[in-house]
């Protein structure tokens, strides 16, 4: 067996193609993953609202606040935590940008 830790990281897109304040959905082995660039930091979440599974990339990103297009639940993209209502959270994935500027995601 090879190094499973590195095998789990998937190159998904070039960081340059994800602008600050923007988000994009990518497919990682059949899972839709939401990538968000907030102030130059990249975050990765399952692209499904924890409320009723609506695709989050349909929503609206304003600074830290991601609003789901379905029933307007609001999340903080830097922590994944629900802001309204507060008792919920996005499902987060590990995410990093490597030296050549590629965004890598680990579904864990």
């Amino acid at each position: 067996m090879g190094d499973t830790a590195t095998q789990q990281w998937h190159a998904v897109m070039a960081a340059d193609d994800l602008w600050e304040g923007e988000m994009e959905a990518v497919d990682v082995e059949g899972t839709s993953v939401l990538l968000v660039n907030h102030d130059g930091d990249v975050f990765a979440y399952k692209n499904r609202c924890p409320h009723q599974e609506w695709p989050l990339n349909d929503g609206d990103l304003d600074e830290k606040e991601l609003t789901c297009a379905n029933h307007l639940w609001v999340f903080d993209v830097t922590t994944g935590k629900g802001l309204n209502p507060a008792n919920c959270a996005l499902i987060g994935y590990q995410c990093r940008v490597d030296d050549d500027g590629t965004i890598l995601v680990n579904l864990g």
Binding site: D16, D60, N70, H71, N87
Partner: protein
Amino acid sequence: MSRFVLVGGGVATAATATGLREEGFDGGIVLVAAEPHLPYERPPLSKEYLAGTVDRPSFRANPEAWYADHDVELVLGTRVDELVPAEHRVRLSDGRSLGYDALVLGTGVRARTLDGFSGERVHALRTLADSERLRGRLTAGRHLVILGGGFIGCEVAAVAAGRGVRVTVFEPEPLPLGRVLGAEFGRAVVDIHAEQGVEFRTGQVVTAMTETSSGLALTTRDGGVVECDELLVGVGSVPNAELAAAAGLEVDRGILTDEFGRTSAPDVHAIGDVAVRHHPEHGGPVRVEHHDTAVKHGRHTARVLLGHAEPFTEQHFFWSSQYDHMIQSLGRIDGEGETVIRGSVEDRSFTRFSLVDGRIAGMVALDRPRDLLATRKVMAVPHRVTADQLADDDFPLKSLLPKAGARRSEARR
């Protein structure tokens, strides 16, 4: 130490409890609710829960453990029977008397009933128990008649049709939802349902019901008879304001409050569906039955109770889902101003705006979540827009936002 008593087991009072603890209130909180359940959300009762695709814990306002963890005392299956504002005291149906420093009434509404329409096969839909009972009867091949083509009637029709139930909806108006959402919506809703085999009898009224050996026989105003297995009465609601009225609070089709949610009695607040609240942007009293507004009222009242009083000015938002279609509405759609349609009515992807003095006052959209998200921001800021711009699908709504362009050009890194 102060004690706040919350009356009602819906999302409004649950949001007040949550808000109070989040804002650091460490006094006593007692939540008294007539239903035997933890406070829960009602929208799934006519949708996912009725269809059987979600379970009960998934739509509780807070998980069960939250109340104990946050020292919120739940008194479930118990009604508040009397309110004595002068003594700051309520009497419960279990005989207990509770003193309060502040009282929050979130007693909601109940389904309106029709004289002569009751019995084992007749349903209303407001509570978990109602939804479970109705679900048990939605068996393929049976015939369900729905009186009233409002949101609940339409949503139940969709779920029932999906389960193979034959559905007939009687709507006295020419179009379902037409009076609230406009004719374009009414027609789209009728068409969508017709494609799924649901029959709308618009402009028709059922005047009487009799039980037969195998079901119900309904008589229509024009003398026809329709037989069915089950009947849902979805003809609107009645605010649960009797408790407040008996205590001498000002009540007019709901409990009257100012823009802070304060009733006419000291330290008594009213929130959610039961509250008729002065809304500064409407310039008068408004009562709505929307999930989101109930939650926002609840949260806002928590802040008011803790002394951070600012008026409630949130835009009203609601949705309705039927089959895989989504209706979403924001702001005022009460017929005020000029009506503008954006998108394609034919393709069933359109938004109907109300334009007042060059400003968007409200909107309702069919399968246009992006219009909703953009409009939400636009309505929050001063803006000017023409009917032609709104009607033009190529005109980006976000361009009405201040400096949208500037922010975009700085974004590239």
